[in-house]
Symmetry: D2
Subunit: 465 residues, 4 copies
Amino acid sequence: MRTLIKNGTLATGSDLAQADLVIEGETIALLGLDLAARAGPFDRVVDAAGLYVLPGGVDVHTHLELDTGATVSTDDFATGTRAAAFGGTTTIIDFAAQPKGGTLAEGLRRRHEEARGKACIDYGFHMVVREVTAGTLAEMDALCRGEGVTSFKLFTAYPGVYQVDDGALLRAMQQARASGGMILVHAENGHAIEVLVEQALARGEAAPRFHALTRPAVLEAEATGRCIALAEVAQAPLYVVHLSAPEALARVREARERGLPVHAETCPQYLFLSRPELSRDGFEGAKFVCSPPLREPGDAEALWRGLSLGQLEVVATDHCPFDYAGQKERGRARFTAIPNGLPAIETRLPLLWDGGVRAGRFDVPRFVQLTSTGPARLFGLYPKKGALLPGADADVVVWDPERPVSLDQRDLHMRVDYSPYEGRRAVGGPRLVFARGELVVEDGAFRGRAGAGRYLRRGPSGGRG
Amino acid sequence: MRTLIKNGTLATGSDLAQADLVIEGETIALLGLDLAARAGPFDRVVDAAGLYVLPGGVDVHTHLELDTGATVSTDDFATGTRAAAFGGTTTIIDFAAQPKGGTLAEGLRRRHEEARGKACIDYGFHMVVREVTAGTLAEMDALCRGEGVTSFKLFTAYPGVYQVDDGALLRAMQQARASGGMILVHAENGHAIEVLVEQALARGEAAPRFHALTRPAVLEAEATGRCIALAEVAQAPLYVVHLSAPEALARVREARERGLPVHAETCPQYLFLSRPELSRDGFEGAKFVCSPPLREPGDAEALWRGLSLGQLEVVATDHCPFDYAGQKERGRARFTAIPNGLPAIETRLPLLWDGGVRAGRFDVPRFVQLTSTGPARLFGLYPKKGALLPGADADVVVWDPERPVSLDQRDLHMRVDYSPYEGRRAVGGPRLVFARGELVVEDGAFRGRAGAGRYLRRGPSGGRG
Amino acid sequence: MRTLIKNGTLATGSDLAQADLVIEGETIALLGLDLAARAGPFDRVVDAAGLYVLPGGVDVHTHLELDTGATVSTDDFATGTRAAAFGGTTTIIDFAAQPKGGTLAEGLRRRHEEARGKACIDYGFHMVVREVTAGTLAEMDALCRGEGVTSFKLFTAYPGVYQVDDGALLRAMQQARASGGMILVHAENGHAIEVLVEQALARGEAAPRFHALTRPAVLEAEATGRCIALAEVAQAPLYVVHLSAPEALARVREARERGLPVHAETCPQYLFLSRPELSRDGFEGAKFVCSPPLREPGDAEALWRGLSLGQLEVVATDHCPFDYAGQKERGRARFTAIPNGLPAIETRLPLLWDGGVRAGRFDVPRFVQLTSTGPARLFGLYPKKGALLPGADADVVVWDPERPVSLDQRDLHMRVDYSPYEGRRAVGGPRLVFARGELVVEDGAFRGRAGAGRYLRRGPSGGRG
Amino acid sequence: MRTLIKNGTLATGSDLAQADLVIEGETIALLGLDLAARAGPFDRVVDAAGLYVLPGGVDVHTHLELDTGATVSTDDFATGTRAAAFGGTTTIIDFAAQPKGGTLAEGLRRRHEEARGKACIDYGFHMVVREVTAGTLAEMDALCRGEGVTSFKLFTAYPGVYQVDDGALLRAMQQARASGGMILVHAENGHAIEVLVEQALARGEAAPRFHALTRPAVLEAEATGRCIALAEVAQAPLYVVHLSAPEALARVREARERGLPVHAETCPQYLFLSRPELSRDGFEGAKFVCSPPLREPGDAEALWRGLSLGQLEVVATDHCPFDYAGQKERGRARFTAIPNGLPAIETRLPLLWDGGVRAGRFDVPRFVQLTSTGPARLFGLYPKKGALLPGADADVVVWDPERPVSLDQRDLHMRVDYSPYEGRRAVGGPRLVFARGELVVEDGAFRGRAGAGRYLRRGPSGGRG
């Protein structure tokens, strides 16, 4: 199967070129001028005049079919990856988790079972570590070397559930460094938040907005700084997930200016939404409950600056959808029972294009870096993923910079009963999406299939690819 | 009893004046010109021509007769306060400690017993809090209101011994704020240090210098920043004891520039000694083991700058002497068994005068602020202590700016078998020391008596006096 | 003549004391307890119960009878110093100026003539330097050593009038350092402003508000940073007058943190007024035209923080009054013809007390530092001025912290036809003002006399006194 | 003419790919897998196994045949561009200069004449502006729109020769912004340096090392900050040439973090050499005289950090060679007569590869950004230059990462009698260099010809390409 995409503007993490591109089988085979004449014949010819040709999106932070203990996120690997493809994302990294009292291997095995045969795009796993013992450390090494799981997520939040102490975090960082892996941290101060939550509830402050008020930015900045300090001691690379607060970004920036290998992602919800959403009438604010919480209006500007200057290297989604009906509503009596998370896997690229490229905050190559090349390089997927060059997997998006994209729930494909962006729209979206050479989305119609996606054994994380 | 001190240069926290001073009983009664003629007769006349007249030193961080569990610091309230007086210090604040599983009241009662009848200068207590329960919080309030104990020390270090978690720290800060008290923190990351220590010992790194290498500056800076964040959430004042690292100072400075009521002290050992001391031949390095450890050569310059600019408000001692023979030596096999602490209570003022005033880093009023007025105001002792004005307690030092002060053990009066400054000397020291009007030191001879010192019920801490 | 001020709270730059104070002749003679009984008899007894007793205000930036070339500021040394006294200020430093093409000595002589026999409080002079030649440098030395003029003002603004180039500035700084003097700078980028003004006028932007818009904060910050750099090269102390912009303060702060002897003052207009005043209806905005211009609403908060933390060391007035009628009005056609300056000499202390002490931004000792002790020490007046201690000149203010002070023109005593604070009032003002022992203001009535004030030969500037 | 480069690692500003590349005529035509089989036949086949294939170097700061008034730089457009090609550089931007009292057009015309028929690689011109009048501003616009000269260099240094005042600089910036151009600044404080130089010479400090001592880093930082401030007022992009001091970089970094379009280059001499070189025995130090001067040992680390983090966007050379014999020697009596400048055009890429890529400070894509893609985009050359993608000019370098490169004068090709790196060598250099499809260097042999290079009319400068 040979596909020609002609007349488009090819975009990479640093360049733009008016040129044609040929896909052969699963792979990008050629970039060139006038390829219709030179390199035919083709099974399929796409005229991309006026359009951009981008490497497929890489979303390194998703939670499909996540069992929180109380409930399960609504998208599974079939519906979630299908929605991802609709949005131009062709690779995800989701999470396997060490069960309480169990081994990493056990957690990975279970997760493989949940994903099997469902994904329509390629996927990998980070591993969530709950307990750091000598056994865990040995398993981390085994996963890095044998399973292509080279990134491990630990939490400074959620005491009693996920939170580990600083000694455990330090040990895990040391191990990650030794094994070619990288630690991801959810950085908020869990013990302090626990106090604030308990005090808020004792005062009868149980509405959704108190979720945000009991998780102040200063406690994200603190934990971010703490993780950086521990990583400095461990001489290990660090990746801060879902950075939301300018104060936390300041810590990342300072670390990078001292030469430390500290990396951070933010998510669209922190760029496009803010705390007042949690005060919507009735219980509607629950739709916007996630952790870290949405921050103050105006705070996003510092994040945009960070994206532009390279202080933030990735935009991922933290996609973790829960229905309003039946799930978010569990927290009507107290915000602590609201499952945390927002649907985002489908809308990432259109939102970031609109707010980033169209708004003049950065250029197309930077967009590619943030959504594809950057995360692929950080997490050992490059150059199979994240590159629009010969030899790379043919994860290719033909992108229409003028395409209006509805952000209403009814027009989206995530399996969830609301959209946080209801009534808003973005300009800029995919016309065609190829996943390893297969056309999976064509002008809003799904052409892929569950099970086509493969598990990705990743190389070392934390390097530059 | 009326004493005239004439012809001296009176020094306060902001001013210098050529004038005379009259003490009546326990109190400063008059400052004026030509008082010999106007205000006589006097029982005693001191000619202070060429000398400074200073308010007595206030040392808010001492550990007399401290039981570490394994051993006891060598100076008790008699010997320690006597040595303090020799050095020009007329007030100390030492620590009472909540016993494991016990109440604050119990800890305070025991400490009163240990001090009773011994001190030759006035003294107060901070309270060390090990566990933060509802009962503890109620006791904190009671101590503030009823006992004049308005400051509480908590630790982010020493897991299993003193360390509390961040939730406990936050609650204590909230209570301190409500009760007119202030939290003191020993800010180092205990869990991370525990890992480093264990790993060092496993590698056979057991010599004294590894004490310092397992407590890196970044872990002090981290914990300092964390305590500041918690204090910001609690909207409470914070006092950082024994700040040693420039990186930690940076956190304090940033906090102050954002208007937070964050205060910090440093100690002479961090200004005059550095890490290479721990590598002295044989086991001599043990003499310099304290926590936080001595930092890198050159680091002190940032602390001096901080003292000069008001970023650091207090120089206290953390006086905690242990004999080399029999005590420090307990750690020959492994540095973890070396009792932490240095003798300092006697040498604080001469060292600071020499390195600060004589070296041109700051002026005499700043010296007075750092050693007397500042700490007195922060800890509810002012204006009885820390002031050289009518109505203040007659804690008065006649200071000879040219007096050579030996720092050798044999010439000092602390009950300990070594001096960290052996072979060095300072220029600048007390000729006469008055404690509440009584002459306690006269040209190197002790004239005071154990038991003359009184317990100080302090007013609210954390304010500006 | 002996005066007793009893029962007051004496306030110095670091201390507060409940004590009595005795003035003998021109001098503070005694501070003490119960002096009515001990030290009488007295010619005059003041009961200051409930009141503060402060060292008289020192205003180091005034422009009395300033000839701008086009007009003359309205207050002369008689009316201006009288108004100063009403406001609690007992010392001023005004400016003598090198005439174009003339010598410093000539400028000083003229200024002495203008002041002679008029001032009712003591006064000194800074010297404005327009041209830096070998002769000027020699004269600077002579003025420092022989005339008690130890501070020299140069401008980076007003090309063709006062502006000097950076080489001249550097030479003057070197000379100041050598002679024990200090350079004052008016720091705005004159050439850039000239371009902006010309362009604004060409666009027909001639109203008062364009005065501010053509002098943006970034050009003050730039010039401030430039002067600091030159002073660093010269290794000389620097004093930045009328600092108005947070961005400029940032430069000062950074310099101080690097240990440079950089000092800065701000003025009440930058603390209490902001740019929207220049847009008042009609031509009223002209009343608020000064240089640097009033800054944005909210900017003052950074200045207040700077005053509190010691980054800003002085609040002076830049008092330079022009009548609205006949003077300010000269600029109706174009803002460039509006004489620059505001009346301020009388209202400094009440405003700063109200906004600083009453508002909880700093305490009374800091107020004394900023208005009296600090400037006196910086400009070689200490300890005669700026001190409330025996031996100091008896410049003493009995201050009522609850006194309502009208800021309306009709209630003030400056010779000018408007008040920038019309309709506002401050709380906190002087009850009694003594100038060198003489009662000059008593409950709102003037008791002093023109000619009583003496010229002050000052000691070296720039040190700490 | 069709050339295949096969089996190499293609490197762009963001990517690496194992792929083949085809050149057709002057243009890159194809990138692809296995092109020998698919896309032949070829006139020339290069096996690049184990080698990198890079876009040709773009050096935006050269001074060929520069007439300083006193002498002329040794390389002309023939020898200089030939040496550039030897080093892997295929495009330069040199400078035309407004003659004193003349027009920009006149300067450009003269420079075209000097270059005509000589260059063997493509070249463009920046325009040096000495005087800013209405006429100059109009000419700037004409050059931008009609001549492809879209960048203008002004100086804050060299009073009486090149220095303009801040008003002129501001006006030029405003014009550049309006015309799609960008201002380049040589940022040092000329007036202050003039004073220091005069004083040094008066003290008899005439040796080469005093060149550096009279141009301290603080005066570069000052001028850099000043230019940034003026650019902020003008809302114009700014490009700082030859940034040498960490203090100046700090200003650039702060500006960028505030979102200002401020760009900066550094040069190899500031990365690899330092001030002690100027103190070499005899008069050898003269070989290292350039402006800004070499900075302190250790300072380079901050520059490397800046290159890695994107704070510095370009490494150019400021190539300005003068023979030691006869030219540098003119300054034996006084350093002010030493012509300023170093030979660098040939050694840029090997040095940067060695110190950057091999030393692990950054990766190959970053190397490409700094030396090719970045400068091409900033100066309106992209995508013809700076891109390794179809449609770009076939400026292609086949780079051997292990090639030892002698830095001795005898092994280099610049027309100058010494090398600043004598005795040192770099690892990493070009095997083959293609300029617009023509092989100009082959394994150390020159295959190009003078006159083959064309003048480049550039698009707008300052954007992102």
